[in-house]
């Protein structure tokens, strides 16, 4: 497929890897923010092409993984109601709440449906006027325009039976929260390319300069990731801390203005609790007036209650890049994709699931 296959060329990948080897003189910790990048790195073994001094730290960029237990419990509560059709992206269905998951609710008779686009949920609402149709709005800035459009269209069509359980999160604020932790080991970032396709990358400029970290907007194919690492290493080795754009074919500096406009029309920025990380100020999106009429949390009166994670699950440390998945004692033992303790073992973009699928052994020592 054009724009995919040519970015998976093994010989060109080796060429980039050789250049990274040539330039690297010291150890560097580079975090890839997005779970899609983590998946590609582990699947294609990109980290194994790199010099030993370069450690790729897997970031918190998996929306499924960071959606708080409280919101998942709210989803489970709503989805179990008889008058509700609960719609969600497929990867949320198996994420464990504190007692069950959406697939189990469905097995017990709940009408839980997987959709490809939030607009599909709007269609279901139009076709089922006697039912309350709820969409589980999970995702980063990449997904926010789609969710915003669903609300915009539902408002335009005056659909009384559509609502949104909103769990949207924002990436730059999470990067800043990681950087401000004293335990942070990250020296450079591969920023999430598709988040930047929507938002552009100006909001990363103050982060790069405040924390003196290079930030390279990077795509998702092996050559993209290797070039992103190369550009980050070039900056690190020369003491620069700038925002650069590797993913120029898809990302403009200003992002996508019409998508941003709709996000701002429908949503406002709010504090948000991240699963495994805690509350991060200004890191979430909530509905703005007058669209709060579509807020499923308000409509169904589900309130936040504090719930505890499994004490065996260390996904919080994985999400913050403090341990690798296989360093968790539960990895592959009490916690597998079939019986996950935490969300990082569920989503295909979760670091634990990627390691379980592609790398059951500890990382081999590079020759």
């Amino acid at each position: 497929m054009k724009y995919l296959d040519e970015y998976r060329d093994g010989e060109l990948a080796q060429r980039l890897a050789r250049e990274i080897h040539r330039l690297t003189t010291r150890p560097w910790n580079i975090m890839e923010v997005c779970g899609g990048q983590t998946h590609a790195i582990v699947k294609f073994g990109i980290d194994e092409l790199l010099p030993k001094q370069i450690s790729l730290i897997h970031g918190p960029g998996c929306p499924v993984c960071v959606t708080s237990l409280e919101i998942i419990d709210q989803a489970l509560d709503i989805a179990a109601r008889r008058d509700v059709i609960f719609t969600s992206f497929g990867d949320m269905l198996r994420v464990p709440g504190s007692t069950t998951d959406l697939l189990s609710v469905k097995a017990k008779g709940g009408d839980v449906r997987m959709v490809y686009s939030p607009l599909d949920a709007v269609k279901i609402a139009e076709q089922n006027p006697a039912k309350e149709v709820v969409f589980f709005g999970v995702g980063f800035e990449t997904t926010a325009p789609a969710t915003a459009m669903a609300i915009y269209q539902a408002a335009r069509k005056k659909l009384p039976n559509f609502s949104l359980l909103v769990a949207h999160v924002l990436v730059p604020q999470a990067m800043e929260a990681l950087l401000s932790s004293p335990k942070c080991r990250v020296q450079g970032f591969l920023a999430a390319g598709h988040v930047c396709a929507v938002m552009g990358f100006d909001e990363y400029l103050p982060i790069a300069s405040k924390y003196h970290v290079p930030i390279v907007v990077t795509g998702f194919e092996p050559l993209d990731i290797l070039q992103g690492v190369l550009m980050t290493v070039q900056q690190l080795e020369s003491g620069r801390a700038e925002v650069e754009n590797q993913y120029r074919r898809a990302v403009r500096r200003e992002g996508n203005p019409s998508a941003q406009e709709l996000i701002h029309k429908i949503f406002r920025v709010i504090p948000r609790k991240w699963r495994g990380v805690g509350e991060i100020p200004e890191s979430g999106l909530g509905l703005r007036e007058p669209y709060t009429a579509f807020d499923a949390g308000i409509r169904f009166g589900v309130s936040s209650h504090c719930v505890e994670e499994s004490p065996l699950c260390q996904s919080g440390l994985v999400l913050q890049g403090q341990i690798k998945p296989h360093e968790c004692p539960a990895f592959g033992a009490g916690c597998t994709p079939e019986h996950p303790l935490g969300a990082t073992m569920v989503s295909s973009e979760g670091a634990c699931a990627a390691y379980f699928r592609y790398r059951r052994q500890p990382e081999p020592v590079a020759a």
């Binding site: 995919l4 899609g36 992206f89 490809y116 599909d120 789609a146 396709a197 074919r249 998508a259 973009e349």
Partner: protein, 84 residues
């Protein structure tokens, strides 16, 4: 979750900019996607699609640059290897 796949717009329908829909060819699989966020996109353009929406029109010139860069890098290393 932020997976977005490149595809080629084959046909566009809908007059209202917010209702513009394209048939997108993903290597032989055709799916519809909203073009509401890429008002500049025309039939024949490649776009990246996420959750039923085209988010960005792919820039062909920029797409070539990484390969030009790799080609130059390859020529340079050949020069180094062949040099005195």
């Amino acid at each position: 979750m932020c997976l977005a796949i490149p595809g080629k717009i084959t046909v566009i329908s809908g007059e209202d900019p917010l209702e513009r829909v394209g048939k997108i060819d993903f290597g032989g699989i055709i799916k519809e996607a909203s073009l509401a966020f890429v008002p500049e996109a025309r039939a024949g353009d490649y776009v990246i699609v996420h959750a039923g929406f085209a988010l960005s029109r792919l820039d062909e010139d920029e797409a070539h640059k990484v390969f030009d860069y790799l080609k130059r890098m390859g020529e340079l290393s050949e020069l180094k290897e062949d040099g005195p």
